[in-house]
C-alpha cells in the first residue's frame, strides 16, 4: 500500500470538463460516452431528499499512476456526505485525453442550497462541479 502511494504521479492533470448528469453510458466498441440529463439544479418539495447522480470528467496532461477521488460536499455546512475513490489508473501519454464516468447511488440532499463534487487526482485538487437544490414552492415560475 505504501509503495503504491509512493508510485503515484505528481504530474498535475489539466481538467478539461466536469459536469453532473442523470446517467452515462459507454459504447463498448468505441468507448464513446453518452451523457443523459445534464443538470445543475435539483427541485424538491421537501428536504431531506436523495438524488442519483452521475459525474463526468475529462482530463489531459496526465502521466503516470493516478487515483481519482470525488468528494460530495454540502457547501453551507462544509460536511462531506459521500466520497468515491478510483482504483489506480495508468496514463502513459501526456497528450492523451481521458474521460471518466462515475455513477453515484442516490446522494443525500439534506437541505436547500449548494452542493459540490470536488475532484482530486492523487489528492491534488483539480476542480469542482456544483449543483443547487431548491424548494419547488420557492422557485419562481
Amino acid at each position: 500500500m505504501a509503495s503504491e502511494e509512493q508510485d503515484l504521479s505528481r504530474v498535475v492533470p489539466f481538467l478539461l470538463a466536469i459536469l453532473v448528469c442523470d446517467t452515462g453510458a459507454v459504447e463498448p466498441s468505441s468507448r464513446k460516452k453518452t451523457l443523459v440529463g445534464i443538470f445543475d439544479r435539483v427541485l424538491a418539495d421537501k428536504f431531506a431528499t436523495t438524488r442519483p447522480c452521475t459525474l463526468y470528467f475529462k482530463i489531459t496532461d496526465a502521466q503516470g499512476k493516478y487515483k481519482f477521488k470525488v468528494e460530495y460536499v454540502q457547501v453551507s455546512t462544509g460536511t462531506k456526505l459521500a466520497e468515491a475513490v478510483s482504483n489506480v489508473v495508468v496514463i502513459d501519454d501526456r497528450l492523451k485525453v481521458r474521460d471518466f464516468i462515475l455513477s453515484f447511488p442516490p446522494l443525500s440532499i439534506p437541505d436547500a442550497g449548494q452542493y459540490e463534487f470536488r475532484l482530486y487526482a492523487n489528492d491534488m485538487y483539480l476542480g469542482r462541479a456544483t449543483i443547487t437544490a431548491e424548494k419547488r414552492s420557492e422557485v419562481k415560475a
Binding site: D45, G78, A84, S103, R118, Y125
Partner: protein, 134 residues
Amino acid sequence: MSVVSSDVLIEPLDEGKSEDEPLEGLPPFELPTAQTWIIGPALPETMLLGALRDPRLRLLAPLTISLERENDDIVAYCEELEEFGFGTHLTEAIEDLQVTIAELYFTLKEENDRLSSNLIRIWDSLRQKIKEVS
C-alpha cells in the same frame, strides 16, 4: 470506480421519479425524503492545489495549502508563496487563493528586475511550479 459512501443507508429513488418540472397538466413528481449521513468533515488541515483557474497559467507541481477556520471564514494559506485566500467556504477560499497566486505571478514577472531577496525566492518558486500557456 468504486463508490465508498453511506449509500446502503439511503433509500433508492423510486423508478420514474424526477425533480424536473412536469409537463403541463401533470402533477409534479416528488423526490423521496431521506435522512442524511455525514461521513466526515470537508475541511482538511492541508491539501494539494493542482490547478490555477487562470487560462494563461498551468501548475507543473502541486502547491501545499493549509486550511483553517477563522470565525465564519475559511483561510487557505500557501506557505511557500506566503499568500492567503479567504472565503465563506472551502471552494471560495481556494478560488480566492488561486486568483491571488495568478496575480502574484504576473506582478512579480513585471517587477522582476527590482525584487527583494524574499520576493526573488518566491519568484523562483513560482517559476518552478507555474508555466505560462501561450
